[in-house]
Amino acid sequence: MLKTIAAAVGAVMVMGATAQAADLSGAGATFPAPVYAKWAEAYRAQTGVGLNYQAIGSGGGIKQIKARTVDFGASDKPLKLEELNGAGLFQFPTVMGGVVPVMNLPGIKPGQIHLTGGVLASIYLGNIKKWNDPQIAALNRGVALPNLPITVVHRSDGSGTTFLFASYLSMKSPAWAGRVGASDSVEWPTGLGGKGNDGVAAFVKQTIGSIGYVEYAYAKQNHATYALVQNKAGQFPAPEAANFAAAAAGANWAKAPGNYLLLLDQPGPQAWPITGATFILVYKNQANAAAGEGVLKFFDWAYKGGDNMALGLDYVPLPAPVKALIRKQWVSQVTAGGKPVYVSR
């Protein structure tokens, strides 16, 4: 009998990739993991320096860099200046992504529905319950809106995507800010949760009249019926790589303390309103100059030659002026024994 049970226990825990003989180590956010892996592969081929990146989630990345068990941490959610200073950390963005509302409405084409942040918040608060609500109709004159109940779909797992989306709703709706707020996971007033982008997309696909939000790459690869969201300039830009870059270009990085910048609701007629970057955390004062230099060299290399690899995976590279600014900050902020570990070439 015991034998049978033993034979039957077949559950397999999939552990993260085991460490090779790697020179650099990092841990954190899962969202940029594919592009970091791609960069690491190309970087190793060129320089022989390997990178062991563990996609354990932003929370884990922050904990690991604070415990100094890795050379760099990675987080989808920027840390505030006080927290950075408290831990002696410096953060910089690597690539960007955007959050796109997707729907399942019969007879509606991608981009046909226009929404504002306020209306989106009312939908997610459960205040707007039907697609032909006057508030939605006012934004979509000439579109035959169905008399369908709205089913709200959100992420069930803690996620940088949720953080961006909820932060945006908090900016645009005092009611959302007061009742729900913004975090990696929030107390949703209504709707059902799917695990990961896949889970949200599957529920949206299976439920007529539903609305969800997914990462841009996911919306693009699945040809989802997306909604357009009004930006600060009053325009309705399409969710495209160029328009995410426009949000980053319009943002004032120089005046963002500690690079804490969410890229939400940025000025510029083309700026997609729900855009965000993913971040790297390193110590300002590097105990090991070689490791610190190795990390910055890797990301310098990625800034120079990694854009096409990022675009190929549907990430949005940073605009050139932002990269130039970050390089200057590396020189001025990251040191070992009082000397900068990175020398710009």
Binding site: M1, T4, I5, A7, A8, V9, G10, A11, V12, V14, T30, I56, G57, S58, G59, G60, I62, K77, T151, S156, D157, G158, S159, G160, V180, G181, A182, S183, D184, S185, V186, E187, W188, G191, L192, G193, G194, K195, D198, G199, A202, F203, Q206, T207, S210
Partner: protein, 316 residues
């Protein structure tokens, strides 16, 4: 375990080997206990801030708000109990049927392949069940089970309340059905082994008296294995309680108390799986660890109850 040592044929050698063997066995057993104790203690310590801050409200409140850092586990705890018990209720009759068929009624040619198929079910990783559940089972369930039931429920009747929900297949009942498929092979396999322990004389005597196969199973075999079947039930329940990935995909993940069979809910394990990786706040992590502690206690209680039942039956 030490009683299994070989008989002392060559006393000189065994006088050295035996104590070593004893010590190794003793350490193996204590290591296991120490690991178990370590898990309990570290879960207790990690969850203490949450228990301390929220007190009894941690078990009675359904607020689960990572923004304001207020946590109550009533939703996941109730969801865990409902899905596990429903899964057990669905799975147990089928497991008995499978086991009886395989031991009593099945032609010998079929018995081997069928038993193998049941055991193969147990080898499917839970994430595969989850994805199958999300992409295949949930849409089918929504269209062919949920919608007809919802539409045929008379307005105002108890059925309408029971079947209320969004027709997309992500709900308590579909999670329970997926769970029941997952625990079925374990229960069926152990049940089959149990039925095999029935002495052939008993069966043959019953057949000899002119009993039909139904009567043999009903009056001879099932009563004989009654004690062991408590173990089967507990094995299934224990596995259902802790199942994580498959449930996470199809339960809808809402922290509120479920109001109907077709409402979305959450379980302790699914909540931990969903939120642990990105939990940055101290209290959030602590609340999740505290949930783990609660799950441990529930599982332990199930085992304890099983032991009590077994002890009670032994005296009968």
């Amino acid at each position: 375990m030490t009683a299994f040592a070989a008989p002392p044929l060559r006393p000189t050698r065994n006088s050295i080997a035996d104590p070593i063997f004893r010590t190794i066995c003793f350490f193996a057993a204590t290591l296991l206990l120490a690991a178990l104790g370590g898990v309990v203690v570290s879960l207790g310590i990690g969850g203490w801030p949450a228990f301390h801050k929220f007190g009894l409200a941690f078990f009675t409140s359904t607020t689960w708000n990572p923004v304001t850092e207020v946590y109550g586990a009533a939703g996941p705890v109730v969801g865990t109990l409902i899905t596990s018990l429903l899964a057990l209720a669905i799975s147990l009759p089928i497991a008995i049927g499978v086991a009886v068929f395989l031991t009593e009624l099945c032609p010998r040619v079929l018995a081997g392949p069928l038993a193998l198929a049941v055991e193969l079910l147990a080898g499917i990783p839970s994430i595969v069940y989850g994805m199958w559940g999300l992409f295949v089972f949930a849409p089918f369930f929504a269209l062919h089970v949920q919608l007809p039931l919802m539409m045929s429920a008379a307005p105002g009747s108890i059925w309408e309340t029971l079947f209320a929900g969004v027709p997309n297949g992500a709900n308590l009942l579909s999670a329970s059905i997926i769970l029941s498929i997952m625990i079925l092979p374990y229960m069926a396999a152990v049940f089959r082994e149990l039925l095999r322990t029935v002495p052939p004389q008993l069966r043959e005597a019953a057949f000899g008296l002119g009993c039909t196969p139904l009567e043999v199973v009903q009056s001879v075999m099932l009563p004989y294995v009654r004690r062991g079947s408590v173990g089967v039930v507990m094995l299934g329940l224990g596995r259902a309680l802790g199942e994580t990935m498959a449930v996470t995909f199809v339960i809808g993940n809402s922290h509120a108390l479920p109001k109907s069979l077709f409402d979305s809910g959450s379980t302790i394990a699914s909540t931990i799986a969903n939120e642990f990786t990105e939990a940055t706040g101290e209290m959030h992590t602590s609340a999740l660890v505290a949930l783990g502690f609660v799950l441990f206690v529930i599982t332990f209680a199930v085992l304890a109850v099983a032991r009590l039942l077994l002890a009670g039956q032994r005296q009968v």
